[in-house]
Subunit: 158 residues, 2 copies
């Protein structure tokens, strides 16, 4: 059952309710959050930096990184950790991702088999003594574009 993703899953203002960590609402933080909402194809930190830079030419990389970490700690955005650099997702509901081994492109991996048992986290906590356990399911493969590129380079060498 694909989720309706037309509307944002949460608004920037609704984050103020999370009183646990009292944080200031800066223009830069709002811009970073809106960038992730707008760039819906799993942007990297640098994609987001370039996007916010096109709106505010003075924002710095450090600020973008600090706010991406902060927003993902708060659960406002999702940090998709893949080899080669993190990607970010406006969709914070649990879902798996698929990353290209060659070019690093990230897409969602939906479908009924792309899930982890509900009590896996609790089971791992009980067996290991670790606390606050969560999980991420990551698929890797070759994207269509890279399949073609590799095939062409094989033909050339043959």
């Amino acid at each position: 059952v694909p989720l309706c993703l037309d509307a944002p899953l949460c608004t920037f203002d609704s984050l103020e309710g999370m009183a646990s960590m009292q944080r200031r609402n800066t223009r830069q933080r709002q811009l970073v959050f809106e960038a992730v909402q707008h760039l819906r194809n799993h942007p990297t930190a640098d994609d987001i930096y370039l996007y916010v830079r096109s709106i505010d030419s003075k924002i710095s990389r450090g600020t973008v990184y600090r706010n991406l970490n902060l927003l993902s700690d708060q659960g406002a955005i999702l940090d998709v950790r893949v080899p080669g650099g993190d990607h970010f997702d406006f969709n914070t509901t649990e879902h798996a991702h698929l990353v290209c081994r060659e070019c690093g492109a990230v897409v969602d991996a939906l479908g009924p088999a792309c899930t982890v048992s509900e009590d896996a986290d609790a089971q791992v906590e009980a067996q290991t003594g670790y606390s606050e356990v969560g999980h991420a399911l990551l698929f890797t493969g070759l994207c269509p574009a890279c399949q073609q590129k590799l095939q062409e380079s094989e033909e050339k060498s043959a």
Copy 2:
């Protein structure tokens, strides 16, 4: 059903059978392979470098990285990709891992719920057009040592 891990899952010599890529059997490559067999607690590349260095004081980091990549491409060892740096595993059978968010310590996540459906990869291939799809299930949490450290620093600030 925990696997008997007393014996190595594969020997260095048995890799020669993989004729697909003809490679030379260097002393350094053998040393790196043996290090992963010996260091059975998910060593990092640097752990492995330090270990082989204690045997051959002239081996270089570049060689260790090159051979770790080569051996994991061949399937002789497993590359456990976690934030903060890859770890390596002599156990190449499919199993999930648990990494501490605070210190990066890696342990196995065994148990019946720590698995992914068998046809997940095929399902993802069919739905996305990606090829050669594989997957990795990674749990994250706080290890017992870091739980205690965090608790102590909370008490101090209170």
